[in-house]
Amino acid sequence: MNPAIIDLLYRLADDGLIIGHRNSEWTGLGPILEEDIAFSSVAQDKMGHALAIYNLLHELGEPAPDQLAFFRDAAEFRNCSLVALECFSETDAASTPSLRNNPTRDRLVSHGDWSLALVRQFFFSEADSVRFNALANSTFEPLAILVRKFRGEIKYHTLHGRTMMRRLPAATLEGRSRIQKAVDTLWPHALGLFEPTRYDKQLSDAGICPGESVLCEQWRSEVEPILRETGVHIPTTAAPVYGGRAGKHLTEMVSLLSDMQKVARMDPDAKW
């Protein structure tokens, strides 16, 4: 049973860390101050959830949380592709003054597409909600205890996501077209949130976690009516993007980790 639980915990924690990291890239750059604050807050919650689950993993004999976040390579991460996707593409640094450590975000931010960030967060919180509601009754008690605490925060994430997803595409044509484009882009990755794993049956038989296909159906029944309500089409032919749960990631994940880990790895003896 242990490898199945460990794998589940890695999936949950890595998803949380990576989406928290991505959302925090918007801190200071949001479309309005209130959204900047909301996104930053969601980012902290998700990184906090990740930290709690890494701690649980550490209690089960895995390395310490910082070790897991900052000293693993992409192939060892178990997050889905959705959370790692890049929402910014930046202009050529040549047009801006060069900086000593050249942190990526101090370059000009261009084509920062908040619709992608918002739709991703909406898809993700709905998945969190479905998954964590199920896990709150997990027979693996240490996880169930944590998840019951997280659920209070997840409720606000879904409330935020639903509110924005109901308003933006309904109010202006530009809003609708941007959200539609983001939904089209992200849908295959969103389905990848529920990538089947070899432990699904074992976990579900033991009452630890329902199978991914069950969760996916529940997620669709939550998400689709909200999209339809505001005239957003649901892609019908999109094939899910799988691979992340097995450590096979897109290139974005590699550059994300290189950003995230570069200071931590400057000096292996340092405590920061």
């Binding site: 990291h21 925090s24 890239e25 801190t27 200071g28 750059l29 949001g30 479309p31 309005i32 101050l33 959204e35 900047d36 604050i37 930053s40 807050s41 980012a43 902290q44 990184m47 906090g48 930290l51 890494y54 910082d66 976040a69 900052f70 003054p97 900086l99 000593r100 450590n101 942190p103 975000r105 101090d106 000009l108 931010v109 920062g112 908040w114 308003r167 933006l168 309904a170 109010a171 202006t172 530009e174 809003g175 609708r176 941007r178 689709e224 339809r228 005239g231 089409h233 649901i234 019908t236 950003d259 995230m260 570069k262 200071v263 931590a264 400057m266 000096d267 340092a270 405590k271 920061w272």
Partner: protein, 336 residues
């Protein structure tokens, strides 16, 4: 929605008996320690000076989010990452709070943001410089926040109610930032050779902007006298600089940090004051007018992010006004 009070726009002008009567009543209230509230009569210059100050303060919070935000993706531990996101979120929240305080004086937020990104409105000198390493974030969070607290604690007791109340809350949060910054600097100062060098390097670069942070020396400051008369400001720039140096310079020295040699910092035991060679105030003015090392880049980042968020603001405004675009005909046909 904020409603703007225009009660100050009376026909009375300075010199008119009506105006002078109101002015002396206003000044009497201030000397009693009363707070001025949004609907109250206030002199035109009082309002303008406050709008200027609060606007610059709000802009500084918003621009201050950029150099620190740059390092969120690179924060080297989970604890630091969480703390840094929380801190930068607070700064953005302070910006929001301050724009709201300025709105009570009649200036809408959108106008203030437009003036910021067009380069018309100023922001703090320290945010015209780049954050070049992780240690810069630590120095900003400790020493610049410390300098800001000295200023904000003083302003929090000022005469304008909404600004004072906003500042009280801001100071409360800044106190956490200071602890967080100090803790980060201690980690570096007591860490490996590389960490200690990073920190000293950052201090070397930031000491000049920090020495300039509280603004021109009293000999050169043009606004101070009026601001103090109306209880907006309670202490001069030099007094604030002294307080900052008295509190924090010894702590820096305790951590083994050195002040760059071009600064002749000398403590006078008898008067308990620091003597220092006066910063180049023409350079300070040049920087805050938008000619600092990364001024153009900061504003361009802000302008782009504001521009890219336009569709969101427009959609939210339309939604708030109850507007809806018709559903496309196939909306209900796409799932069997």
């Amino acid at each position: 929605m904020v409603s703007f009070n225009t009660q100050h726009l009376t026909d009375d002008k300075p010199g008119d008996p009506g105006y002078e009567r109101q002015l002396s009543a206003f000044e009497a209230r201030i000397s009693r320690g009363d707070k001025v509230e949004p609907g109250d009569w206030m002199p035109y210059d009082y309002r303008q000076q406050l709008i200027r100050l609060i606007h610059v303060h709000a802009n500084s919070e918003i621009c201050g989010a950029l150099p620190e935000g740059t390092w969120i993706p690179h924060a080297p531990s989970l604890k630091r990452k969480l703390a840094l996101v929380a801190k930068v979120q607070d700064e953005v929240g302070h910006g929001q709070l301050l724009y709201r305080a300025a709105e009570t004086l009649g200036k809408p937020r959108e106008e203030m943001i437009e003036e910021l990104i067009s380069g018309k409105a100023k922001y703090s000198n320290v945010f015209h410089y780049p954050a070049e390493s992780w240690a810069d974030v630590c120095v900003i969070a400790w020493l610049i926040d410390a300098a800001a607290i000295v200023n904000q604690k003083m302003m929090a007791d000022g005469s304008y109610g909404p600004y004072g109340r906003a500042l009280k809350r801001i100071c409360y949060e800044e106190a956490f930032h200071l602890t967080h910054g100090y803790d980060m600097c201690i980690s570096l100062a007591t860490g490996t050779r590389l960490q200690r060098d990073m920190l000293q390097d950052a201090v070397n670069r930031w000491w000049k902007p920090i020495m300039m942070f509280h603004g021109p020396s009293d000999k050169e400051s043009k606004h101070t006298e009026l601001l103090m008369r109306w209880g907006i400001k309670l202490r001069t720039n030099d007094e604030q600089r002294q307080e900052f140096l008295r509190k924090y310079l010894p702590k820096m020295l305790n951590l083994g940090l050195k002040i760059p040699t071009e600064w002749e910092m000398r403590f006078d035991e008898a008067t308990k004051t620091w003597h220092y060679n006066e910063p180049q105030w023409d350079e300070f003015l040049h920087v805050v007018r938008g000619n600092g090392p990364v001024s153009a880049q900061r504003l361009e980042t802000r302008r782009l992010s504001h521009e890219q968020g336009r569709w969101v603001r427009e959609a939210l405004a339309a939604a708030a006004a109850g507007k809806r675009v018709p559903l496309p005909p196939t909306a209900y046909a796409n799932r069997g």
